[in-house]
């Protein structure tokens, strides 16, 4: 892609981020969820997966989906510094998406967690994968986190016993900033984060197909 001068000046500088190594998790249903990092080329597919949720008021899906949609666009078009996207798939079907970014070498910022398939703690597992990326692969010391929904507040702020730090700025609204510190991560990781590596090549190949969900439990009667 030829980047002209104006476009170049609009793009934030990029940090060389080590990739998130894919893993797979056996869910309660027995299904295997593969978690892998999405590329910019994957974004149009992910936008398609998120779009139906933008009008779902229940459980704040609309706010979270709309913001994630914008963040995915911003990632694809180089308008956010050091953003990443992780996606969860079952048999290649997109079941959840999480994203965040590096603020600097030591501090990360969690953006959003969307679980499309529900009842299997997919959101919790993808959030844990996101924290795993910040702490164990990007080598960061802290992750700044906010929540827009009561579910998010319970799952992150309460279950991870996040440190409240309202004086610290976060790019999103909702609950004032909370922080996952390295110590809190080490404390909760054994009970929150799981999965196996490496992902068998054939399983990973299927995961990368990023098949759009044919149904959304949040939208009864949805037809694609």
């Amino acid at each position: 892609m030829i980047v002209d001068k104006l476009e170049q000046s609009l793009r934030p500088p990029e940090t060389n981020m080590p990739p998130y190594p894919p893993k797979y998790i056996t869910l309660a249903s027995g299904e295997k969820m593969v978690v892998h990092q999405a590329s910019r080329e994957d974004v149009p597919r992910l936008l398609e997966a998120v779009r139906p949720l933008v009008t779902v008021e229940k459980d704040f899906y609309d706010i979270v989906a709309a913001r994630l949609y914008a963040e995915l666009l911003a990632y694809q078009r180089y308008r956010v510094k050091d953003e990443y996207v992780l996606v969860g798939t079952i048999d290649g079907v997109i079941v959840g998406i999480v994203n965040g970014r590096m603020v600097d070498d030591k501090v990360g910022m969690s953006y959003h967690t969307v679980a499309i398939k529900r009842g299997l703690r997919i959101g919790a597992q993808l959030f844990a994968a996101k924290m795993e990326y910040h702490m164990d692969y990007l080598g960061q010391q802290e992750v700044l986190i906010v929540a827009e929904s009561p579910i998010g507040y319970r799952r992150w702020m309460i279950e991870y016993e996040l440190e409240s730090r309202p004086s610290t700025w976060h790019e999103l609204g909702g609950v004032p900033t909370h922080v996952l510190t390295k110590a809190l991560w080490e404390k909760h990781k054994p009970m929150k984060c799981t999965g196996r590596r490496p992902v068998p090549p054939e399983m990973l190949e299927v995961a990368k197909k990023l098949i759009l969900p044919s149904e959304y439990p949040q939208i009864p009667g949805f037809k694609r």
């Binding site: 309660a28 249903s29 597992q125 319970r154 054994p190 929150k192 799981t194």
Partner: protein, 396 residues
């Protein structure tokens, strides 16, 4: 005493309600009235309404729910009372309805149980449920029902050899049953391997109160269930042949669980069941289908033993042999039980009876127990300190 039967049943989808408590109760009630062939309004013929709810006052800041329901359904001037007996409120309300008709005071009684619990967080709901424990000896020390169930399970494991795998078998069975029950809260069958054997199991099915894991504990649910009780001598008035209430037994035990002589015994269950069998003139071996209060998987096993369906300490062996699933010798919790159908506290006792009526009528679809004639329900209040057992029989 007059014989009493059940002429109509109704049940909302358990899970999260989109309507208010009273509207939810009304939906279940209207379905039951319609099932019985009763119209609301003038000459409705309902003499008495009982509403079972444990938490309306605390969770929903609403009292006198029965009066509100009568007004909503236009059932004036029916008598109306709200009944609270912890998680056994539903069966208690059915018992009171039975007594009202058996005594001759009424001909027809509507019994509705319901709870709107998901207005609070899971932690708040757990704390609310714990208010039924002894305030000084138990609640003040932070004890909760999952904590009690965890300790009870540990004792049961040590004494009788119950394993975590046995508990997971109960969970999987009840989730499988729930897949055939359209009103069940959870429509998902966990994989036995995934929740207990897989290396990811400690995270995807974590301990809640060791040795109990997430899949050993019922969900927090909203929901309502209703039955129309009638005098059997008036059976011809109704659309369907009433299912007879053959026996009811109730018993209490110490409030403080630590004061029980043998902490693995559930004496109130044993006594309540014995009283119900005696009243019905039946024995445990006559029971074809049972709905037992599995708020925790261990309770299904323990209650099945205390109710005489299996020898003490052998309930888990029956689970291993597949005797408690549909198609087995004595299917238990065909509705999915509290574990998978859900446990809106005040609704549960009524919901159990709705399931038995459907089984005895042959209306249970994919979970039908063929040829079922007698059904047992055990509704468990407190940590076993107030228990109601009900036996229904199909009239030939």
């Amino acid at each position: 005493m007059r014989k009493v039967g059940i002429a109509g049943v109704g049940h909302t989808k358990f899970g999260r309600s989109e309507v208010s408590l009273v509207d939810m109760l009304a939906l279940a009630a209207l379905e039951a009235l319609d099932d019985a062939g009763i119209r609301t309004g003038r000459r409705h013929g309902v003499d008495q309404v009982f509403v079972a709810s444990m938490g309306a006052g605390i969770l929903n800041r609403q009292s006198s729910v029965a009066s509100a329901l009568v007004d909503t359904l236009n059932l004036q001037p029916a008598m109306a009372e709200t009944v609270e007996n912890g998680p056994a409120s539903g069966a208690s309300a059915v018992k009171l309805g039975y007594m009202a008709i058996a005594s001759g005071m009424c001909d027809v009684a509507l019994v509705v149980g319901g709870e709107l619990m998901r207005v609070v967080t899971g932690w708040e709901a757990t704390d609310f449920v714990a208010t039924m424990l002894h305030p000084d000896a138990e609640y003040a020390y932070g004890l909760t029902l999952p904590a009690f169930a965890g300790m009870f399970t540990r004792l049961y494991m040590d004494k009788y050899g119950v394993t975590e795998k046995d508990l997971a078998m109960v969970a999987v069975k009840n989730h499988e049953h729930a897949m055939h029950n359209p009103v069940a809260h959870i429509q998902l069958v966990p994989s036995f391997h995934a929740i207990i054997e897989d290396e990811d199991a400690p995270v995807i099915n974590p301990y809640v109160a060791e040795p109990l894991r997430v899949y050993d504990v019922c969900p927090v649910s909203d929901g309502a269930a209703a039955v129309v009780l009638c005098a059997m001598d008036l059976a011809d008035r109704f659309r369907k042949k009433p299912v007879r209430i053959a026996g009811i037994g109730q018993a209490t035990d110490t409030h403080v669980v630590a004061e029980r002589e043998v902490p693995t015994d559930l004496l109130a269950v044993r006594l309540a069941a014995q009283r119900a069998y005696a009243m019905a003139g039946l024995k445990p071996e006559d029971i074809d289908v049972a709905e037992l209060h599995d708020a925790f998987t261990i309770l299904e096993i323990a209650i099945s033993e205390e109710a005489g369906l299996f020898p003490k300490g052998e309930g888990h062996l029956a689970v291993r042999r597949g005797e408690t699933r549909v198609g087995g010798r004595i299917p238990i919790n065909t509705s999915g039980g509290l574990k998978a159908k859900g446990h809106p506290l005040g609704a549960t006792g009524v919901s159990q009876i709705v399931e038995l009526v459907r089984q005895l009528r042959g209306e249970a679809g994919g979970r039908q127990v063929e040829g079922a004639r007698h059904g047992l329900a055990v509704n468990f209040g407190g940590f076993g300190n107030n228990v109601v057992a009900t036996i229904l029989s199909k009239e030939e």
